[in-house]
Amino acid sequence: MNRKIQQFVFEHKKVVIPIAALIFLGLPFFVTNSYFLHILIMVCIYICLALSLNLVTGYAGQLVLGHAAFYGIGAYAGALLMLKLHVNFFAALLLSAAITGFFGFLLGMPALRLRGDYLAIVTLGFGEIVRLVFVNWKGLTRGPAGLPGIPSPQIFGFAISGRTEFYYLALILALFTIFFMVKLINSGVGMAMQTVKNDEIAAEAIGIQPRKYKIMAFVISSAFAGMIGCFFASYLSYISPTAFVYNTSMTILTMVVLGGLGSIMGSVLGASILVIVPEMLRFLNDYRMLIFGALMVFMMIFKPEGFWGAGKRRRNIYKINSEVPDHGSNS
């Protein structure tokens, strides 16, 4: 059934995309409840985060467990720029993307030499350290109390303050991210990244430097996370370290995998579902996350390729475990 939907969307691209665009543009006219608008804005934010993580994990094949750290760096950088230096929101957006990209570069340079699981652990450790810096550097971040009073964006004297205006801004950022990612992965650079993911040694043999493309993916990914972090800070006008914990990183990763690794549409779907479903399960109160956890397990057992995955990650019919290497180990 899934394949048929994919096929249908692909064949009727010219019809489906404008209709989807119209629905999203028109949503605020039907949805006036500010709680629903808030959820829609969060969907847009998580779409950006999931797409940026998808670039590095889904396309370049590098497992990152500390994506929330970049999100947080961007949020704090943007907030401080706007609060202390009174930088305009849009300049702050670009600057925080640049700053976060730089942090991504600093971490990526040494860390991307490591393979698979070890890279995951280093990024996980980095995420924890960043969070602890947010909590403890009281002079700059005010610690656990957080930063209040972050100004709203201004365009030519017109302040964006209502939920509807913020929704459109979030939508623009999400669409920009989608557009950028689609263009990037279909370009030569994107192809090179996917080659690195599929086989590093083969990539090297045909003249692609794996390290260069891994770092490039990592920096772009962190810059986008930083950009949306800046938007998040301005939207809520208050940030505290609790928003950028390990759990957030895991949620973003879950969105990417649940949606389908290496699929733009998958990340968009994964982000939407993972923001909306827990809200819909609210009537279950305490049992909400319990059921959610169980759903994640069952999803992985019965549909490991995700909602919109390419179906490549099907189970090995010969039951030979490709994840258990034949060599080296001690215990």
């Binding site: 994990t57 497992l63 040494p110 860390a111 030499r113 490591l114 393979r115 698979g116 699981d117 070890y118 995951a120 652990i121 280093v122 450790g125 980095f126 924890e128 350290i129 602890l132 810096v133 909590v135 403890n136 040694i201 390990y246 895991m250 990763l253 879950t254 995998v257 649940l258 690794l261 305490d286 049992y287 909400r288 996350m289 319990l290 959610f292 956890g293 169980a294 759903l295 994640m296 397990v297 999803m299 992985m300 057992i301 490991p304 990650r313 189970r315 090995n316 039951k319 030979i320 475990n321 490709s322 994840e323 258990v324 290497p325 034949d326 060599h327 080296g328 180990s329 001690n330 215990s331």
Partner: protein
Amino acid sequence: MINGITVGGSYALIALGYTMVYGILRIVNFAHGDVFMMGSFFGLFCMQFLGMPYYVAFPIAAIATAIMGIIMERIAYRPIRTADSLTVMISALGVSTFLGNLAMVLWGSGTHAFSGFSGITVSVYKFDNVVLSNIQIGFIVLSVLLMMALYFIVNKTKIGIAMRATSHNIKTAKLMGINTDRIISFTFGIGSALACVAGLLVGIYYDAVYPLIGYSYGLKAFAAAVLGGIGSIPGAMLGGFVMGIVETLGASYISAGYRDAFAFAILIIVLIFRPAGILGKKEIDKV
């Protein structure tokens, strides 16, 4: 320092669970921290509601946790053993969310105290300028004893040999007539039981247990396993103690707020310079 060794003992016990599972299946069991938390709660339940003395509650809670670990492997990991590691990781995160919230539903999100239920009274001994409490001594002795027992099981018994064979090469082990499914269940059981003991020790030592405790301990114990070289049992023990000592010394001499950051900074530095960990073997990528 003594504090560091005590805390390190618990990290080492939890890290063993990570490292054994990784050694055999090459997967990171992200739910292990929550198994540790559940173990602690099982023990508390035995002591508080069933009125057991601690020496009865410990083994019963350990067995209960081991059974839980085996069931967890059966439901969440066995069906996807042939899938890639990301799938398994998401499944593990699902289990972790499930267990964390199960504890919240069962026992509430508040902090529970152990004192008054365990039947252990704290007494303090002084040697020159070193202060030791009986809990610390018991903690260290018990964790070292358990590690020695584990070392014996893995190296000397028949099931230990089968475990090592399975971790070396699962396909060949199967061909040699080893029931690898049973070995994997056994590994999860032992790892969970050790985590349970660690959970009880931590609970008694800090006199507190809460549903989210598994998160920070799980993360640090995992870091300890990697520090020592994941997949290596002596490595996990060493990594646990190093982690505990570094973090305690860093917290007392530099800054208490960055307590956890020291552990992770050490981890990152070690990994960048020696990716396989202190006692790990380097794996070579073959074409």
